[in-house]
């Protein structure tokens, strides 16, 4: 076997190895509880859609997805609206303490999320934000905004300042320049940033669970409640898990090229 064949085989084995847990999750979601607990089967002998049926018909289940999507979208929108001007300022202007402020933003990411849990909970309870979508979205902004500023600043600094100046000379006002010339130029960066916001907010459990109870309860929190009187409903849990992965897969598919560019810029 020549070298390239061996390399391909090695890679294939590695990918198979990576996919084992996902494969297991998928086949579990098509099995009944008896089969899951009954013994080792490599594919569902008793194929069933019951688990998915339960999720799509029971509002306590599917509302979990809706809630998650609502606050994730809110978080992405808020983060971009806040981070775009901030990143522009960091990339284009020199002001007192700019480097310190930039680093401080990033250092927010160094604190364990649990530290902020109690203050958020108390604050939101007292101002009546508890168990709302915006509460979770805002709490997540604490982590996504610094990351977004950091990533976007990298992309914006890649645009020569002369482009800004040329636009002003051509007669563009700042808002027109920003919306019509600048944003399209860094659309990869915006895609990458939105992707990272999504990734964070979608899988984050601690804040999402603590700051909600009923109305805005995310899917990740609902999944922890499958322990019923009859024990754990493994099949249902697996089906919910599969459905949780799918949005992530879709998002990654759309931004995969941009992410590669983001890595190349060294900011991701």
């Amino acid at each position: 076997m020549d070298y390239s064949m061996r390399k391909k085989l090695g890679l294939a084995l590695y990918i198979v190895f990576l996919f084992i847990p996902i494969y297991w999750l998928v086949i579990m979601s098509f099995k009944g509880t008896e089969e899951i607990l009954g013994g080792l089967t490599l594919w569902p002998h008793d194929f069933t859609f019951d688990n998915y049926h339960t999720i799509f018909t029971d509002s306590t289940w599917y509302m979990g997805y809706v809630n998650s999507m609502i606050y994730v979208s809110m978080n992405m929108a808020i983060t971009l609206v806040v981070a775009l001007p901030a990143a522009y300022a960091f990339s284009r202007y020199r002001f007192i303490g700019d480097t310190h402020l930039f680093f401080w933003l990033l250092s927010n990411r160094m604190a364990p999320p649990a530290v902020f849990l109690l203050p958020f909970f108390q604050l939101y309870s007292s101002v009546g934000l508890f168990d709302t979508h915006i509460a979770v979205a805002l709490a997540h902004c604490l982590f996504t905004v610094p990351l977004a500023v950091w990533i976007l600043e990298g992309f914006m600094s890649g645009v020569p300042r002369e482009v800004d100046e040329t636009a002003y000379i051509d007669g563009y006002s700042f808002p027109k320049f920003f919306l019509r010339i600048f944003l399209p130029m860094i659309r990869s960066g915006i895609g990458v940033t939105a992707f990272f916001c999504f990734m964070f907010s979608w899988v984050e459990l601690l804040f999402a669970r603590t700051l909600t109870s009923v109305d805005a309860k995310p899917i990740a929190a609902i999944m922890t409640r499958t322990v019923g009187a009859a024990g754990i409903d493994w099949g249902l849990l697996a089906a919910a898990g599969v459905l949780t992965i799918i949005p992530g897969v879709l998002v990654i598919w759309f931004v995969r090229n941009h992410v590669a560019k983001g890595f190349a810029l060294g900011r991701v």
Binding site: P160, E162, V163, E165, T166, A167, Y168, I169, D170, G171, Y172, S173, K176, I181, P184, M185
Partner: protein, 364 residues
């Protein structure tokens, strides 16, 4: 109708970039700013465009003080050394963008874009994106964008530097033509005396933030005010030699003597700086009174169809410009002939006292 730079000084963080610039540029004129890097060419252009604000002085266009006028309202255009275009717009939209923002009618825009693209020969690429074009085409696109609107001031900041040699010559010769019928004030910055000379027009020599001399290109060449002007405006740089005039004649670097000659008659005794253009020194005597010097070749570089030879001996270091291509090995001894009737004379403060008559008459 003119652009007046009134006593402009620019200082950033205590570092002076421009000091006391006073210039008047007429409408319809082509002006060249010549200076090395850090001379302040770009700074001056940015002040005129309104991208920076000078610490002192005023920019006055047609009698109106531009100091507090925003960039968008100054009606200038600018072409950078780098190729600056909007990558997400097609070439057509790039060129149209200043007109669109000025709310010109659609049919009018189409017409003017087409005309400008035709002048700059980029019609075939109008529907492509700038990054799909070659460097020369990209720069033409940004020139087209600068020319499409009727700007009162058009600034070119070394626009041809990043292009290859042939393309540079081609675009340069087109450039002058583009301004023939316009009533705009064109300002073109360059580091190369050759380019300044080829473009002609009004030339302003800048050095370390000061105006050294300003005037017609040929005038500066024939009548440099100072040693600095002569050395900035010669390519390769004029050779400067310390010398002394006494009753018995002239001595250079206290080593080489020659008898007083008619051209230098009238110079009072004393110390001077003598200048001789590299193209005036030869490897064969041209004239009876050429000064023969024994030198060693340090380096012979070929530039186009000319050879620049750097020679030295214990007392002199000279650059010689020779026609044609010559191969010389380093450390080879050569005899060079310095024409004593073609000497520039400067006093020790750098003021020009005398320019060789052959230069003044126009022949170099």
């Amino acid at each position: 109708m003119s652009l007046v730079l009134d006593n402009i000084s620019h200082t950033v963080n205590g570092e002076s970039f421009l000091s006391n610039i006073n210039l008047t540029l007429e409408s319809g004129s082509f002006n060249v700013l010549l200076g090395r890097t850090l001379a302040g060419k770009t700074t001056l252009m940015r002040l005129i465009a309104g991208l920076d604000k000078s610490t002192e002085g005023k920019v006055i266009l047609h009698g109106k003080d531009l100091t507090d006028v925003k960039i968008q309202e100054r009606n200038v255009s600018m072409v950078y050394q780098q190729f600056v275009n909007y990558p997400n717009l097609t070439v057509r939209e790039n060129i149209a963008s200043p007109l669109r923002i000025a709310k010109v009618k659609g049919s009018e825009i189409a017409k003017r874009v087409q005309e400008t693209a035709a002048i700059l020969q980029i019609e075939p690429f109008l529907d492509r994106f700038p990054l799909e074009l070659s460097g020369g085409q990209q720069q033409r696109t940004s020139m087209a964008r600068a020319l499409v609107k009727d700007a009162s001031i058009i600034l070119f900041d070394e626009p041809l530097v990043n292009l290859d040699y042939k393309l540079r010559e081609e675009l340069r010769s087109e450039l002058r033509g583009l301004f023939k019928e316009r009533n705009a004030i064109a300002i073109y910055a360059t580091t190369e005396p050759h380019e300044a000379m080829a473009l002609g027009g009004n030339t302003t020599l800048l050095h370390e933030g000061r105006v050294i001399q300003s005037g017609a290109a040929t005038h500066i060449y024939r009548h440099p005010d100072t040693m600095e002007a002569a050395s900035l405006y010669s390519e390769p740089t004029i050779n400067l030699i310390k010398g002394r005039v006494t009753d018995s004649g002239v001595s250079l670097e206290n080593r080489v003597h020659f008898a007083m000659r008619a051209e230098l008659e009238g110079l009072p005794n004393g110390d001077y700086m003598f200048g001789v253009l590299p193209s005036h020194i030869g490897l064969a005597p041209n004239n009876d009174d050429d000064l023969e010097l024994n030198m060693t070749v340090e380096l012979a570089e070929i530039s186009g169809s000319e050879t620049y030879m750097h020679v030295h001996n214990a007392h002199f270091e000279l650059i010689i410009q020779l026609n044609g291509i010559h191969d010389y090995h380093t450390e080879v001894p050569v005899k060079v002939y310095l024409p004593t009737h073609k000497l520039f004379v400067f006093d020790l403060t750098g003021k020009t006292i005398q320019v060789p008559s052959s230069i003044q008459k126009g022949a170099s």
